[in-house]
């Protein structure tokens, strides 16, 4: 058996974080080349500062200045840095206990090679030139007995942006695969549940009602009925089709479940439940393994289907 089709799926968003009083103070101070901790109910100084005490759960208020120098309490060598990590050359992730703190901060140490770093090694912050109020204002720590750079003035920050980017490989299921390969030839392949005899388009690995594999393959035509629809007038981030457009549930003739597709060739106010439609395919040379081979559906001109013929598919 050939490998099922797969395609990249990249999901990314620049999340914003409102920092609140505690992390806001911490990150504002990093911008000033200062490191601030907070004193817990048991006297321990937490760095980064905690908004709520881990012992009493009460809100903490007593900020404490700590040094930008400290001691490595534990480390792990990263021979091949990944996208988004602090350094693009081999480095150590380390738990650094800053002088004046009772807890350790996780950060990168630019140690050159694993034989240079050890637990107990002295380090200092290497401050970034352009600081924005983020943990990355400390570019990394470096092995040194010397003090870090002096503080400087800077405005407070109340928000940070934390981009998150996920790169997936999306693979079709073994059932979806012949369906997608069929689409590449302009064929609409469905499967029938051997138990309830419902016809699924697109096919599923198993019938969601009976839980049995849907093994019987059948081919459908590209004509069907609009069961229901909405007119999308609202623009939104990541939208692929410019509004307004009609997003319609199409029940192909012979299928027992409708799917969402685009309806064109008719004014939105003239679209009706029960309207008969046919597929408008893209030029053959543009076909790939996707439902997007059907550019859209358009009215076929046939009389509307009676409500009873699709009322069980709403």
């Amino acid at each position: 058996m050939t490998r099922p089709l797969s395609a990249p799926l990249d999901v990314g968003f620049d999340y914003t974080r409102s920092l609140g009083p505690t992390l806001g103070r911490f990150l504002s101070d990093l911008r000033r080349r200062r490191v601030t901790g907070i004193r817990g109910s048991d006297g321990r100084v937490h760095v980064p500062p905690l908004e709520y005490d881990p012992v009493t759960a009460e809100r903490l208020h007593e900020f404490v200045d700590v040094a930008a120098t400290g001691v490595v309490r534990g480390w792990s060598w990263i021979p091949e840095p990944l996208e988004g990590q602090p350094l693009d050359r081999p480095f150590a992730w380390a738990l650094v206990q800053l002088d004046g703190a009772d807890t350790s901060l996780l950060h990168a140490v630019d140690a050159g090679s694993p034989d240079q770093i050890s637990t107990g090694a002295r380090v200092r912050a290497r401050w970034r030139g352009e600081r924005v109020g983020a943990i990355t204002d400390i570019e990394c720590f470096e092995l040194s007995d010397e003090p870090a750079e002096e503080p400087a003035d800077a405005d407070d920050v109340t928000m940070v942006t934390t981009p998150v980017n996920l790169h997936y490989t999306h693979s079709a299921s073994p059932t979806e695969d012949p369906f997608l390969r069929g689409l590449m030839e302009g064929r609409l392949i469905a499967q029938r549940c051997p138990s309830c005899e419902k016809v699924y388009f697109p096919p599923r690995p198993a019938c969601p009602t009976d839980g049995v594999p849907t093994t019987d393959q059948i081919e459908l035509t590209d004509r069907g009925t609009i069961t229901t629809f909405c007119v999308v007038n609202v623009p939104f981030l990541g939208q692929r089709i410019p509004p307004p457009y009609v997003s319609a549930y199409v029940l192909l003739d012979g299928a027992d479940i409708p799917f969402l597709h685009l309806l064109l060739g008719v004014a939105p106010e003239d679209v009706r439940m029960g309207m008969r439609v046919e597929a408008v395919w893209k030029p053959r040379e543009e076909w790939g393994p996707t439902m997007q081979n059907i550019d859209h559906f358009k009215p076929s001109g046939e009389p509307d289907a009676p409500f009873d013929s699709y009322s069980q598919h709403l």
């Binding site: 914003t16 005490d53 079709a172 979806e176 997003s247 393994p289 996707t290």
Partner: protein, 380 residues
């Protein structure tokens, strides 16, 4: 199963952007109010249950871990619940079960969403390969099913606008509501922009930052108590051949189980107030039918007759509901907490006079997760 009661409720001032607080601070605003309402301290809390909608909404994986300090959960059992938009309701039910089963005496249930940190519409419309990119967020998902309801029930067009106007007016009586629109009218709703035809702008829930918390206990702690008479949850797949998206089987089954457990045979007569998850106005009549308050196709008539107003036969969403505040993860627990507030008599200006039995309801995903409870002023 031993009795359990809500003994304290708390919520945040909901708003589009609560930029003044972190996620932890947002949760604590609700928690501190709930614990003060219950008259309990951290030493009284045995376990914490956190509800949150999809992680992609804030981009934080497993937020319960980094929030543990703020939730007072260090050294205690901490459980996270996730059932999409219904999660707040499921969180209440899970917390209730921990007390009813005798595992814990007092449990803190918390749910939150900080929608301003992201964009839920984007997060719900990620275009997966090989598919047609016609998805358009929750509104785009639900609008076709609203159209199906209107067709099946032959409801007049103004019903959706009536629900929206009522809920927003109710919201203006709720000091915590995100939207307060005392002067809204059916006509002004009908004049608002059509977003996802047939759903208009004013018939759509806002995007809110907010949190809700309740303390559930085996015994009253401060005198007031909303006794949990029944809980129910049911689930069904998003799509299957013959699925009824207007009147989902899972919702019908959950409601049947709920009324049976609560000993209620005629919900419309025996329930004094209902907080029903209505993110788009038409879901009021749809869920009235799904929950069994009316026969199929008749829900809109209750709305049209004004019977779902405060003072009507079944006040629905006296708090203003999801249409007035929608911190998604918290929205279900807000319904549950508001139901409890009604029977405890602590609902303030949106109190339903003499409410003794109330429903809290939540749904989520593609109308596939349902969670509900019935609370009453009498100990069972």
């Amino acid at each position: 199963m031993r009795p359990a009661a809500v003994v304290g409720t708390g919520q945040t001032h909901h708003a589009a952007k609560r930029l003044d607080v972190s996620m932890a601070g947002l949760c604590r605003e609700a928690i501190d109010r709930a614990m003060a309402d219950a008259g309990v301290d951290w030493s009284d809390i045995d376990a914490v249950v956190l509800g949150k909608a999809p992680d992609l909404f804030e981009g934080v994986m497993m937020p319960e871990l980094f929030l543990a300090d703020a939730l007072g959960a260090v050294g205690k059992p901490l459980l996270r619940v996730h059932t999409a938009g219904s999660v707040g309701g499921s969180t209440g039910n899970v917390a209730a079960s921990l007390v009813q089963s005798g595992v814990h005496d007092r449990v803190l249930a918390v749910a939150f969403e900080k929608q301003s940190e992201s964009n839920a519409m984007w997060a719900l419309s990620v275009p997966t390969p090989f598919t047609m990119p016609v998805h358009a967020g929750a509104g785009g998902y639900f609008a076709p099913h609203v159209r199906s309801y209107i067709r099946r029930s032959a409801a007049p067009e103004h019903i959706g606008a009536m629900v929206a106007a009522k809920d927003r007016r109710n919201g203006s009586k709720n000091p915590y509501a995100h939207l307060k629109q005392p002067d809204i009218t059916v006509e002004s709703v009908q004049a608002s922009t059509m977003l996802w035809d047939p759903i208009r702008y004013d018939e759509t829930c806002p995007s809110s930052d907010g949190a809700c918390a309740v303390v559930i206990s085996s015994e009253p702690t401060s005198g007031q108590a909303a006794w949990i008479r029944a809980t129910a949850m049911r689930t069904e797949p998003t799509t299957f051949a013959g699925r009824d998206q207007v009147n989902p089987q899972a919702g019908q089954d959950a409601a049947r189980a709920l009324w049976k457990q609560a000993g209620i045979t005629d919900p419309l007569s025996e329930v004094d107030a209902a907080e029903i998850y209505v993110p788009f106005s038409w879901f009021e009549p749809m869920w009235l039918e799904n929950l069994g308050f009316t026969d199929i196709g008749q829900g809109w008539k209750l709305t049209e007759a004004g019977e779902t107003e405060i003072g009507g036969r079944l006040p629905v969403n006296p708090s203003g509901g999801v249409l007035s505040s929608n911190p998604i993860g918290a929205s279900g627990l807000l319904r549950f907490a508001e139901a409890a507030m009604q029977v405890m008599g602590t609902a303030g200006d949106h109190q339903v006079d003499g409410a003794r039995v109330a429903l809290g309801h939540a749904y989520g995903g593609g109308s596939q997760f349902f969670a509900m409870w019935v609370v009453g002023s009498e100990k069972p």
